[in-house]
Symmetry: C2
Subunit: 349 residues, 2 copies
């Protein structure tokens, strides 16, 4: 019943173990797996004490730490036949690192719990680890520790930590009427890729790649904070759903101007093939991990931030602190109108 913490990995074998491991994780063994994973995970300067003890120690230079956690379950959040292990690792890291950026913070470290079926090829675990490593490095952080357990499906749970570098956190609740809404990063690409994979295809390759490996603009988070963003969020559930979170938390309405939205050719191609409106990908597709922010109307935005809408006063009583109920005015409109169709997703339904 006891479980072995990946944080014991530092007492493991020399680096480079299990290179090209051909067997299963059971054959490699728990300590062998931990050692081989750890060997692929160099720690960066923010990790004061890395894997190998009961816990890691990570720097928090301004006496605060930003922390977020996400769990991915095989078959629900990823499929082994749709994504290589390396990309699952990159994506798992990306979605947590993007949440840190969405506070205006800079990622410092990741902790990773990895549940694996005993018959999982060890090579899968190691390629996953390399994906984790590379994505984390891209965000300027490193893996500080973790846990390896046996489970039925693969389960990955990641906690990302970060530093605000002395700035206040940029929450979802600061949007004010008169602000503009701007987005940095891609919208709808991952959803288009998922649609393609779901129908058994592998092209257009760019959207499949976008689904497998999002490219969150990590440094745009601290940039938005520096520019004085009034609210900031990671677009993980879809633009309308996530702007809805901002609108409700801020007690405002948000209107999206579809004329400003970039609908890229590959999205048009996928939409045409399934006889759908490509705008639906852009408005409701999640998992690209773009950042959406609100800024005062006079802020001069760098080119990569595209203004896509504006913040309006809520018509009636403030809507802070409640999910919408029947008859409530919509928190987010599209070209001034209520958007039809599901903007979000309930996992249990």
């Amino acid at each position: 019943m006891t479980q072995i913490r990946g944080t014991q990995a530092g007492s493991g074998r020399p680096a480079g173990g299990a290179e090209g491991a051909g067997g299963t994780v059971a054959e490699l063994g728990e300590f062998g797996l931990i050692a081989a994973m750890s060997a692929r995970l160099p720690t960066g300067p923010d990790v004061l004490l890395g894997p190998g003890d009961d816990a890691a120690v990570i720097s928090a230079p301004d006496s605060r730490v930003v922390a977020t956690t996400d769990m991915l379950v095989e078959g629900r959040h990823f499929r082994r036949d749709w994504s290589p292990a390396y990309d699952v690792g990159r994506k798992a890291a990306a979605q947590n690192l993007a949440d840190v950026a969405a506070m205006g913070a800079v990622p410092t470290a990741l902790l990773v719990s990895f549940g694996a079926p005993p018959d999982l090829p060890a090579q899968w675990a190691l390629e996953f680890t390399e994906g984790l490593r590379d994505e984390t490095a891209e965000a300027g952080a490193s893996v500080a520790g973790g846990d390896v357990v046996a489970s039925g499906p693969i389960v990955v749970s990641i906690t990302a930590l970060g530093t605000l570098r002395g700035r206040p956190a940029v929450t979802r609740s600061g949007a004010r009427p008169g602000d503009v809404v701007a987005v940095c990063g891609r919208l709808g690409w991952s959803a288009a890729g998922l649609t393609v994979l779901g129908r058994g295809f592998r092209s257009p390759r760019v959207v499949v790649e976008a689904h497998r490996r999002p490219e969150p603009p990590y440094d745009a988070g601290p940039e938005a904070a520096e520019l004085g963003a009034s609210a900031l969020i990671d677009v993980s559930d879809g633009l309308l759903a996530d702007l809805g979170h901002v609108a409700r938390a801020s007690g405002v309405r948000i209107d999206v101007d579809t004329g400003t939205l970039d609908v890229a050719d590959p999205l048009r191609a996928v939409a045409a093939a399934i006889n759908a409106d490509p705008l639906r990908f852009v408005l409701t597709g999640g998992e690209d991990h773009a950042l959406a922010a609100t800024f005062g109307p006079d802020v001069e935005l760098p080119e990569r931030w595209r203004v896509v809408g504006r913040v309006l006063a809520a018509k009636e009583h403030g809507q802070t602190g409640g999910e919408p109920h029947a008859g409530a005015e919509p928190a987010v409109t599209v070209d001034g109108e209520e958007y039809e169709g599901p903007a979000g997703h309930d996992h249990f339904r």
Copy 2:
């Protein structure tokens, strides 16, 4: 494919939702579940920004944060028919909080990822949450955020954060020849309880309770640091296994003196019933989350720290940084002799 972060919970429904919920988590719905769980989780003073945003913000007063993570999978780490939901919550929190204490740190906050099958009774999730809350409060911390996803078995992944309050971290690698080995907390009770449950019994009740709900002596971690402990570890895998981690990380040997070990009556009763040596529970039973530390020979220890062994020089070359190989001298001995029988556990084997 997108997942909803529990950190969105703050935008949820008013507190007290789903009181006495009779349905499943699917019937309650994802946002309803998050709201009802959040309503049971007050945040403490170390949580500067709690659930409801992309990430939480937690204080790290000495500019460092201690962080550790553990994953529990239903059927492997707990069984619903053996432990009530409340106790699973307490235990899940306890094993992570104990890891923070085992660095000499004080827990500040927990992040919790909860994977639940859609047909899970909502009441189970809420009682689990209450267990989490109470154990976390007992350690002086609170839950700062989390994630709720759908999964097959219940999967719980917890990250615990803590502060060293300006002290150095007490690692596993500082034990020196001449030090004494001392333990604070129970040993073998959880293993005895597991043995009882595994044979279909429910008594002695005290060991079953000990298995369901460990009682780590959280404040003994900072106390050990204050007393100048040279090494410190959480006894999660069993005394011999965990002292083995200390011995190998420190490049020393450790000898345990069984004459000093307290073998409580309920452990004797269970051992007698299965015709086993009760000392085996004490030496190899995990999950009680006692703390084991090494101290210089002249340190005056408070009564709750029991000296159970001593640190000796490694006979040959230092053993730092490697798991034992065939023919190596044992890192831990019992009354001067190699202990026969498995001291640890490989999850994948």
